[in-house]
Symmetry: C2
Subunit: 249 residues, 2 copies
């Protein structure tokens, strides 16, 4: 059975301007791997209504799950919720439970309009909770909308992903060879890939300070094939007199 697929849409000018380095993709990818959902694409787009709508409508029928981050705070540039409502042709409505929770957090009189905006979701949305912020994300149809701030995003992912339908988790095995060039192992690796067409065999040059080399990775949803291919990868490195090293160098 093919795994369920996901697309992650990062909504944020601050990523596109280079101000902020995205740290959320790694967090989401790991959580989805464990849940047996395959992250197949990510996109980063600006906080522009038309771009959010068109991207969402392009992606939501192509993938089983759409995750978004960013643009659900209280300021003028936080337009994710209303854009998603527009994309789906749904009205934006006040989520009473969230409104009440938020209201309790603020001193009387300071629960202003900007703060109230965080309780408005597309009609029918369910909140996505976190340990860190009272203001939730939300899910509507196959779209899961989360905060951009990494600690809140992380907490929302931890709450949400285990609640999604579980597939076979992705298995992965890596062997590292120091001072190995990709071009030295290209040929036997190609042959191995042909023998295991359902696996994804990758070769990734790495550099960590002085340490350089290549990481050879076998990934797939069939644990036995991954184990077998892993042993063969170790042999490939040994055959060129490299010392295979398991785990992150």
């Amino acid at each position: 059975m093919a795994p369920q697929t996901a697309c992650f849409i990062v909504i944020g000018n601050e990523i596109l301007s280079g101000r902020t380095q995205d740290a959320n993709t790694v967090v989401l990818a790991h959580a989805l791997n464990c849940q047996g959902i395959k992250l197949e694409e990510t996109r980063t787009i600006p906080d522009i209504r038309e771009r959010i709508i068109s991207t969402l409508n392009e992606c939501r029928t192509r993938f089983d799950f759409i995750f978004t981050s960013g643009g659900i705070g209280p300021t003028h540039d936080d337009i994710t919720s209303s854009s998603i409502a527009d994309a789906l042709g749904l009205p934006l409505t006040c989520h009473e439970e969230t409104f009440t929770l938020l209201e309790k957090c603020f001193e009387p009189g300071s629960f202003n309009k900007a703060r109230q905006r965080m309780a408005w979701f597309p009609q029918g949305a369910e909140p996505i909770k976190s340990d860190i912020s009272v203001a939730p994300g939300f899910s509507i149809k196959n779209i899961y909308v989360m905060a951009g701030v990494p600690s809140i995003f992380h907490s929302m992912v931890n709450w949400l992903v285990p609640r999604l339908p579980k597939g076979k988790p992705l298995q992965s095995l890596s062997w590292y060879g120091f001072n190995v060039y990709e071009s030295s192992i290209a040929e036997p690796l190609t042959k191995l890939q042909e023998e295991y067409p359902t696996l994804d065999l990758g070769s990734y040059p790495f550099e960590k300070g002085e340490k350089k080399g290549v990481a050879l990775v076998a990934k797939g949803y069939d644990a036995q094939s991954v184990q077998e291919a892993g042993k063969r990868i170790k042999l490939i490195l040994q055959n060129i007199k490299a010392t295979p090293f398991e785990g992150d160098p």
Copy 2:
């Protein structure tokens, strides 16, 4: 004059699996800002021929420049060059100058087929050089193809971007307020955005260890407006009794 636009396509299973955190977007974004080119979108897609072709063909008419990273090495999963040739309907041909340069780097007899692949580009492509690797990237039409390894990518960006047509550089000014909530400054910031519709005013919560707060950023291509809006942002923070702090906290 509207700035020229760019899309960055990251080709790499290792990013989608969460194995590797993308470090290249920040590098490209900064270089493009200086050159007056606006990074409008990024996508991360797997090393799958059909996905590379469809993504490229979707994007290359929408944006002035397409940059890619990843998949130009010597192994079986390095299929970027041939996929781009397919997308453009061009044959893959041997780039003689690159072939000769690469051949010189290897001991006689060890310039194998895998290594030779790195000299094959879509017909008519020009090499993109770097200080670090003899194997170049290449440009063809409005597509600029670079390596995924961060040090090589960085070096290729340094070589390439200053050679692109220069627009007005992006101006940016940030003020940081510690222990400030976005919802406290949402209202005056909205008003300021209405006064400066050509600028992009953003509000970004930050957390660095114990330090938390909000960064208020004014960005645009008109230096004077950015300066003016910057002064007003400082006032917004002072009006809520925060001490505005310029530059990264």
